[in-house]
C-alpha cells in the first residue's frame, strides 16, 4: 500500500476543522485555518510533482471496501482531468481564507469550519472513483455552501441560499436516479472505471444523458437553468463567490467529462450538436446580460455563464483541441474569475458599494489594485499573452472544426466579453477621480497581495507557457477521445 496522499489531501481540511472547534480566539482560528490550507496546498504540489504525465491511468489510487454488500468502495484516484482541479481547489481554499480575514467579522469559527469542510468535500468530488462516494461528496457540498451564503451573505442571503439549494437539489435528484439506473444496468457496481467500460444500449444512454445533462447543466450553469447563479454570487461573501465560480461551476463540466462522455459515448455524439448550440447560446446570452449590469459582482457572475459556455462548447466539440481547451479554460476561469471576485470583495470592503456608477478614477487612489485588476480583466477577456487566450484559441479552433456556425456565435461572445470587461474597467479605474473624495480608499496590503500574486503568476505563466499544464491533461484527454469514438462506433 502506497502512502495515501489523496486521503491526506481530502481529509486534512476536516482534521483542521476539528481543531478549529477547540480554539477560542478569532485570530487563532484564522491562523490555524491558514496553516491547514497551506499544508493542503503543499500536499497538492507534492501530488503534482509525482504525477506521471505519460499515462491516462488513475494515479495515487486507494481502494478500501466500504459497504461490500452493495459493492460500494472507498476508492480515490486522479488522472489528468481531475488533477488540475484538485490543485485549483486547494489553491483557492487558501485564497478564500485570506479573503475572509477581516471581511468575516462574526461567527468566525463557524465560518472557517464551513469553509474547510467545503474544501474537503470539493476535493473528494474530484478524487472519488466510486460513484456512490462521489454522490456523497457531491450532495454533502450543498450544506456548507448553503450555510456560507445563508449566514454570512448579503441582505438577500436567505432567498439566494434557498434558491441555490433548490436548483442544485433538483438537479441532484435526477443525478441520483441516473446513478441507480447505471448501477443496475452496469453490472451492479459503483466503480466508475468499470462503469466506463460498459457498452450500454443507446436508449438507456440517451435517457441517462438527459438526466445527467440536467444535473450538470444546473451546476455549470447552462442557459436556461442559470438563474440561481447571479443571486447566489451577489449575496455570497467573497470567499463564497470564489468557491462558487472557481470550483463549483467546474463540477458540472467535470461531470460531463467523467460520466457523460466516457459512459454514454453514443448519446454524447448524438446530442453534441444541440449541446454546441446550447453552449453558443450561453456564451452570447451570458455576455449580453453581463453587458447590461451596473453591479460589479453581477457583471462578473454573468460573465461566468458566458465563459462556462466556452467550456461546454469545447467539450462537445468532441475533438482534441476542443477538449484540451475546455479543461484549460475551466482551470483558467477558476483562476481569473476567482481573482475578479476577490477584487470585487476588496473594493466592497473599502467602499461598501458594488455599483459601477459609484466608482471612477480609482487608478489615482489605488494604483496597485487597479494594475492587477487590469491584468485579470484582460485575462478574463482573453487577451493574447494571458491564460484564457490559449484556452479560447484551442476551444474556438476545436469549435470551428465541429460546427462552424456555433464557432461564429462563440466569437461574437468573445467580442461581447471585450465590451463589458473593458467598459467596466474604464468606468472603475479611469475617468475623473471621484472616488478619492467620497470614499477612503487604501491600496492593497501585504495579506491581500499574498492572495493576489499566485493567481497573477498563473495568468501570465499559462498565457505564455501552458505546456506543463497541457502535459498533465494530455494523456487523459486522448484516452477519453478514444473512449468516445470507440463507444460511438466512429
Amino acid at each position: 500500500m502506497e502512502f495515501p496522499l489523496l486521503s491526506l489531501i481530502v481529509f486534512t481540511p476536516v482534521v483542521g476543522a476539528a481543531v478549529l472547534m477547540l480554539l477560542r480566539s478569532d485570530d487563532a482560528v484564522r491562523w490555524t485555518a491558514l496553516g491547514v490550507t497551506v499544508i493542503d496546498l503543499l500536499s497538492c504540489v507534492a501530488m503534482l510533482a509525482g504525477f506521471d504525465t505519460t499515462t491516462h491511468e488513475m494515479q495515487f489510487t486507494e481502494t478500501r471496501l466500504w459497504v461490500p454488500a452493495l459493492g460500494i468502495t472507498y476508492a480515490l484516484g486522479i488522472d489528468g482531468i481531475s488533477a488540475p482541479f484538485v490543485f485549483l481547489t486547494a489553491l483557492l481554499g487558501l485564497i478564500c481564507v485570506l479573503a475572509s480575514w477581516v471581511a468575516i467579522d462574526h461567527k468566525v469559527k463557524s465560518f472557517m469550519v464551513s469553509l474547510l469542510v467545503m474544501q474537503a468535500l470539493m476535493l473528494g468530488v474530484f478524487c472519488a472513483l466510486d460513484l456512490f462516494l462521489f454522490y456523497v461528496f457531491w450532495e454533502a457540498m450543498l450544506i456548507p455552501m448553503y450555510l456560507i451564503i445563508g449566514i454570512w451573505g448579503g441582505e438577500g442571503r436567505v432567498y439566494a441560499a434557498f434558491k441555490f439549494f433548490l436548483y442544485t437539489l433538483a438537479g441532484s435528484l435526477l443525478f441520483l436516479i441516473g446513478v441507480i439506473v447505471l448501477y443496475f444496468h452496469g453490472g451492479e457496481t459503483f466503480d466508475i472505471l468499470a462503469l466506463t467500460a460498459q457498452d450500454l444500449p443507446f436508449r438507456v444512454q440517451s435517457w441517462l444523458f438527459i438526466a445527467f445533462l440536467i444535473a450538470f447543466a444546473v451546476k455549470v450553469p447552462m442557459v436556461p437553468v442559470h438563474t440561481w447563479l447571479p443571486d447566489a454570487h451577489v449575496q455570497a461573501p467573497t470567499a463564497g463567490s470564489i468557491i462558487l465560480a472557481g470550483v463549483l461551476l467546474k463540477m458540472g463540466a467535470y461531470g460531463f467529462l467523467r460520466f457523460s462522455l466516457p459512459m454514454l459515448p453514443e448519446a454524447s455524439v448524438y446530442y453534441s450538436t444541440p449541446m454546441l448550440w446550447l453552449s453558443a447560446l450561453a456564451i452570447v446570452y451570458g455576455g449580453l446580460l453581463a453587458l447590461a449590469q451596473d453591479d460589479l459582482k453581477k457583471l462578473v457572475a454573468y460573465s461566468s455563464i458566458s465563459h462556462m459556455g466556452f467550456v461546454t462548447l469545447g467539450i462537445f466539440a468532441l475533438n482534441l483541441r476542443g477538449l484540451e481547451g475546455a479543461i484549460l479554460q475551466m482551470f483558467n476561469h477558476g483562476v481569473t474569475t476567482g481573482a475578479l471576485f476577490l477584487f470585487v470583495g476588496l473594493i466592497y470592503e473599502r467602499t461598501h458599494t458594488r455599483s459601477i456608477a459609484d466608482y471612477g478614477g480609482l487608478m489615482k487612489a489605488a494604483p496597485i489594485y487597479t494594475t492587477f485588476l487590469a491584468l485579470f480583466t484582460l485575462s478574463s477577456m482573453a487577451l493574447p499573452g494571458t491564460n484564457s487566450f490559449v484556452g479560447e484559441l484551442l476551444v474556438l479552433s476545436g469549435g470551428f472544426a465541429a460546427n462552424l456556425a456555433a464557432g461564429v456565435a462563440a466569437v461574437l461572445g468573445a467580442l461581447l466579453g471585450a465590451a463589458y470587461l473593458l467598459g467596466m474597467y474604464r468606468k472603475v479605474a479611469l475617468g475623473p477621480a471621484s472616488v478619492g473624495a467620497r470614499f477612503k480608499i487604501r491600496d492593497v496590503n501585504t495579506r491581500e497581495m499574498v492572495a493576489i500574486l499566485p493567481l497573477a503568476v498563473l495568468v501570465v505563466w499559462i498565457g505564455l507557457y501552458p505546456k506543463p499544464f497541457l502535459n498533465i491533461i494530455d494523456a487523459s484527454v486522448k484516452h477519453l477521445l478514444t473512449q468516445v469514438h470507440k463507444g460511438s462506433g466512429q
Binding site: A401, V411, L415, K467
Partner: protein, 484 residues
C-alpha cells in the same frame, strides 16, 4: 540562434521599467529614453548585415501549443519595420523631452514609460516568427498606447481614447480572433513561411477568402476603411505620440501584419489564385481616395495629417496586393518613406503648437517667417508625401506606379496619380499660407520662435526623408529580399 532579437525588445522594456523607478528624478529619467533608443537601434543595426545578405536571425524560446512557438525570426520585412521604428525613436525621444518640458505636461513618467513599452512591442512584432507571437505584441501595443491617447484626461481625451480602444480591441476580439482560430484549425500551425503557410494545406476557397478578409479588417491598425475611424480620434494624444506611434509604430504595425498575412501566411501565389489581390486593391484604392478627400476638408493640422496617414497606409497595402514584384517593393519601401516624412510633418505640427499655440491651418498665415526651420522641414515632408523627386516618397511612388503598369492594372496608376494631386492640394496650401500669407495682428507680447529640442529632431527627419530619396539602397535591398 541569437539572443539579439530578444535583446532589442528587452532594452525598451527595461527602459520603461527604469523610467518608472526614476519617477522623482526628472533629469535622469529623461535621459533613459534616448539612451535606450540608441541601444535598440544599435542592436537592430547589428543584425542588418545578415539580413541584407539574405539570411535570418532566429530565436526560438519555447513551445506554447503544438505547432505554435514563442519565437523570433528577423527577416527582411521585419528589418524594414524595426529599422524605421528604432531609428525614429531616437529623434522622437529627444523631441518628446522638448515637447513635454515646454508644455509642462503632467504624468510625464507614465508617458515616457508607455512610450518605451510601445517601442518594445513594435520591434517585438517586427521580429515575431509566427502569428501568435506577433499578436501578443500587437495587443501589448494597443494597450500601452491607450494611456498615451487619454493622456490629457479631459473629456476629449476620454472620448477619443474610448473610440481608439473600441475599434482596435473590437476588431481583434472578433474577426482577428476568428481568423487565428480558423488558421490554426486549418493549418495546425501559425508559423510564417516563405510562400505562405496556408498555400500548403487543403482548404476550400470560400473558407480561405473569409479568413483573408478577417485578417485584413482584424488588423484594424492598418486603418483600411471602414476600420480607420480610430486614427483621427487618436489625435487627442500629445503630438510626439501622434508622430512616432500614430504615424509610424502603431499604424505600420497594422500594415506590417497585413503584409505578413499576404506574403507569409497566404503567400502571393494563393492570394492571386483566390483572386483576392485585385479585390483588395479596389478596397484600398477607395481608402486612398476617400481619406484624401477627408483630409482636404480638415482645418485642424493634425486631423489633416491623420487622414493623410489613412490614405498613405493604403498605398503600402496597394503595392502588396498588386502582386507584381515591383509594386510589392514599392509598397514595402513606402513603409520607410512614409514614416520619415509623416513624422516630420507631425513634429512640425507639434513645434507650431508649442511655439504659437496654433492648431488650425487657417491661423497659420505667415508663421513660416517666424519658424523658418519648422516650415522648411514641413515643405520637404510635403514634397515627399506628394512624391516629388528627390525625396523618399518619390522612390516608393515610382515603384508603385511602375508596378501597377507591370501588373497591367492601369486603373491603379490613375488612383496613384489622382491621389498625388489630392496630396498636393491639401499639403501645399499649408506651406504657401505659412510663407506667403499675411499675418494676423498679434499682440506684441507673443513671441513665436523655434524651440531647439524640437527643431533639431524635425530637421533631422526632414534630412532623412531627402536622403532616403537619394540613397534608397538599404530599403530597396531589403524589399527585394522580401519579394525574392
Amino acid at each position: 540562434m541569437s539572443i539579439r532579437p530578444l535583446l532589442a525588445v528587452a532594452v525598451a522594456g527595461l527602459a520603461a521599467f527604469a523610467i518608472l523607478l526614476l519617477n522623482n528624478r526628472e533629469k535622469l529619467r529623461d535621459v533613459v529614453s534616448p539612451l535606450a533608443a540608441v541601444a535598440m537601434f544599435a542592436i537592430v543595426a547589428s543584425m542588418a548585415p545578415t539580413v541584407l545578405a539574405g539570411g535570418t536571425v532566429d530565436l526560438r524560446l519555447f513551445e506554447i501549443l503544438p505547432g505554435i512557438d514563442f519565437a523570433f525570426r528577423v527577416d527582411a520585412l521585419g528589418m524594414v519595420f524595426a529599422t524605421v521604428s528604432s531609428l525614429l525613436w531616437i529623434v522622437a525621444a529627444i523631441y518628446s523631452i522638448g515637447y513635454m518640458r515646454h508644455l509642462n505636461e503632467h504624468a510625464q513618467t507614465r508617458f515616457f514609460a508607455c512610450f518605451a513599452t510601445s517601442l518594445a512591442a513594435a520591434v517585438g512584432g517586427a521580429f515575431a516568427a509566427n502569428l501568435f507571437t506577433l499578436v501578443i505584441f500587437y495587443e501589448i501595443l494597443s494597450l500601452v498606447t491607450y494611456p498615451l491617447v487619454y493622456h490629457h484626461e479631459d473629456e476629449e481625451g476620454w472620448r477619443g481614447s474610448r473610440k481608439y480602444l473600441v475599434y482596435l480591441m473590437g476588431a481583434s476580439k472578433s474577426v482577428l480572433l476568428a481568423a487565428l482560430a480558423l488558421t490554426y484549425h486549418i493549418a495546425g500551425s501559425l508559423d510564417f513561411m516563405a510562400g505562405g503557410l496556408l498555400s500548403r494545406v487543403d482548404a476550400s476557397a470560400p473558407m480561405l477568402t473569409v479568413v483573408y478578409f478577417c485578417y485584413l479588417f482584424g488588423f484594424a491598425k492598418a486603418a483600411v476603411m471602414p476600420m480607420h475611424a480610430w486614427l483621427p480620434a487618436a489625435m487627442v494624444a500629445p503630438t510626439p505620440v501622434s508622430a512616432l506611434l500614430h504615424a509610424v509604430a502603431v499604424v505600420k504595425m497594422g500594415v506590417f501584419c497585413v503584409l505578413r498575412v499576404v506574403f507569409h501566411v497566404f503567400g502571393t501565389g494563393l492570394v492571386d489564385g483566390l483572386g483576392l489581390g485585385i479585390a483588395t486593391a479596389y478596397l484600398v484604392s477607395f481608402t486612398i481616395l476617400m481619406a484624401s478627400v477627408y483630409a482636404l476638408t480638415r482645418d485642424d493640422l493634425k486631423a489633416r495629417l491623420a487622414y493623410s496617414t489613412v490614405s498613405q497606409l493604403s498605398y503600402i497595402l496597394l503595392g502588396a496586393v498588386l502582386l507584381s514584384p515591383v509594386a510589392m517593393v514599392g509598397g514595402i519601401i513606402h513603409i520607410a518613406a512614409h514614416a520619415f516624412s509623416k513624422i516630420t510633418l507631425f513634429f512640425c505640427a507639434g513645434s507650431i503648437y508649442c511655439a504659437s499655440g496654433k492648431r488650425n491651418i487657417s491661423d497659420m498665415a505667415g508663421i513660416g517667417r517666424r519658424l523658418p526651420w519648422t516650415m522648411g522641414a514641413f515643405f520637404v515632408g510635403s514634397l515627399s508625401m506628394i512624391g516629388v523627386p528627390p525625396t523618399g516618397g518619390f522612390v516608393s511612388k515610382w515603384y508603385l506606379a511602375w508596378g501597377s503598369v507591370e501588373a497591367g492594372e492601369i486603373a491603379f496608376l490613375i488612383v496613384l496619380l489622382a491621389s498625388s494631386v489630392l496630396n498636393a492640394a491639401y499639403f501645399l496650401p499649408v506651406s504657401y499660407v505659412a510663407f506667403f500669407g499675411t499675418e494676423a495682428q498679434e499682440s506684441p507680447a507673443t513671441v513665436i520662435r523655434e524651440i531647439p529640442l524640437m527643431t533639431i529632431p524635425l530637421v533631422a527627419t526632414a534630412v532623412l526623408s531627402l536622403s532616403m530619396g537619394i540613397f534608397p539602397d538599404y530599403f530597396l535591398t531589403l524589399a527585394e529580399g522580401v519579394v525574392r
